[in-house]
Symmetry: C2
Subunit: 274 residues, 2 copies
Amino acid sequence: MARTKNNAPELMVAFDAGEPVKPEKDRKFVESLSRGLDVLRAFTQGSVILGNQDIARITGLPKPTVSRMTYTLTKLGYLSYNTQLEKYQLSSGVLALGYAYVSNLKVRQLAKPYMDEFARQTNMSVGLTCRDRLHMIYVENRLPPEASLLRMEIGLKLPLATTAAGRAYYCAIGDQDRALLDDALALKYGEDWPEKRQGLTQAMEDYRAHGFCLSLGEWDRNINSAGVPIHLQDGTIMALTCSAPSYLVPADRLRDTIAHQLAMLAGDIESLGV
Amino acid sequence: MARTKNNAPELMVAFDAGEPVKPEKDRKFVESLSRGLDVLRAFTQGSVILGNQDIARITGLPKPTVSRMTYTLTKLGYLSYNTQLEKYQLSSGVLALGYAYVSNLKVRQLAKPYMDEFARQTNMSVGLTCRDRLHMIYVENRLPPEASLLRMEIGLKLPLATTAAGRAYYCAIGDQDRALLDDALALKYGEDWPEKRQGLTQAMEDYRAHGFCLSLGEWDRNINSAGVPIHLQDGTIMALTCSAPSYLVPADRLRDTIAHQLAMLAGDIESLGV
DNA sequence: AACTCTGTTTCGCACAACGAAACAGAACCG
DNA sequence: CGGTTCTGTTTCGTTGTGCGAAACAGAGTT
């Protein structure tokens, strides 16, 4: 086995701050692949059905390029064409890929029973999330027996700055990565950044002092949640969270007892060796 | 709005019979995008973690090309690099795409309560599937109250020829599409094709006579299931199925009463206007 | 009939992607 | 230790693919 200068890109810097990334001069980077995937990702930014024009506007790609990409993606089964509306939408090809990812996450399988037990004991829903660019994505979510209103499905995206999941992740990454993340978030939030940063700074303090982060009504006014990072053996950092409506789990109870239990749980899961 | 000769590829002919598709000469087809996606799909064929060499072998692409593709995909967050094993695996980027697809399927949302009710009444698990190349993929699955052993997750792939889902789909498509599908299946199964075709022929007869298809222990020895197609308004064809261990739901009860109810359910769902 | 909105197609060029071959390390091995 | 065999990376000259401005083509709209 060899690795002279390590082909794998040193750090994942592809934060999407709205506009697509423009790597300037990299012989190894395959531009048209990147563009094609940008076309697919255009469908995750809200709209479910897009014409070539829409895609061109969202991605910033020229029209003929979009035309070729949608043609190719349709032929491969990643997009489908709606002849009535004359627009495209995602097709089943992307689902196969997404499933291949989650179904092979060992941590997900192993953590599931622990998460169930925790959900049962605390009556909160327990989620496991990973980062994708500037979001946290659920890879698992277990509900308490009396199924709460919170039905977070696998794949759902949460913002990074205002949720317990995002904050736990933010606290756990290296200083260098965090600086990059700060830049990307600042770009995304513009003049709202100072406010968001305040929440993240608070999270860092919480995390250093107690080992967990909180989001008390800061993402959804009625939801309190706590989050802790989980370090996988391959270096991946995920976040374990528990959430409930604030009238069921008030802030002080979350802070004083439950969040600490969550941190213990994270430790247990890590020590399973995933 | 314009469509002179219809840019959208006439028919989705991208059946993967093992080896990647080789379109010969199509100015609109972006080869490198197709190749990059082939690299991603390599991870859905069993292995969860692959080196460049493995990918080259699976996809048939030359080594330097694979190197560039993995480099690009890693940089974009669709693959992650495991430094210990010096191999790649899928990353969270693909999950965001897959979720965008399922979460926007109206039929899924609308059918869910009906499927729950059917599961409760019949004590079978009820699935909604769509086709991806030579497989059917779950886009929704609802279990009966006393959660059976069958836990089919969204995204899971079923073979097309031996399952009730696949057969229902097979019966519902046009003759021309079916002929193409036959060719692809023949290529996939080789000398086993006559046997598989027998099952599909039987399904066609069942479907014409009764409006449903069956798979009685033909996919999993211990599982009986029935399937019916669902036609969406945009022309998409999906399949609705119900399944249970054969000792709980014997073949005759499935054939004589439940399958017919399933066909009725499919009609109800179609008439919701999805 | 002129205008606008779509999306497709053309076509010549540039340069991005290609891939054979060379290189580079690691592990193993007698 | 030199040789062998894995791995994956890099080089580099060539080619042909992907590019995109501009032209074209329909369908509504006024």
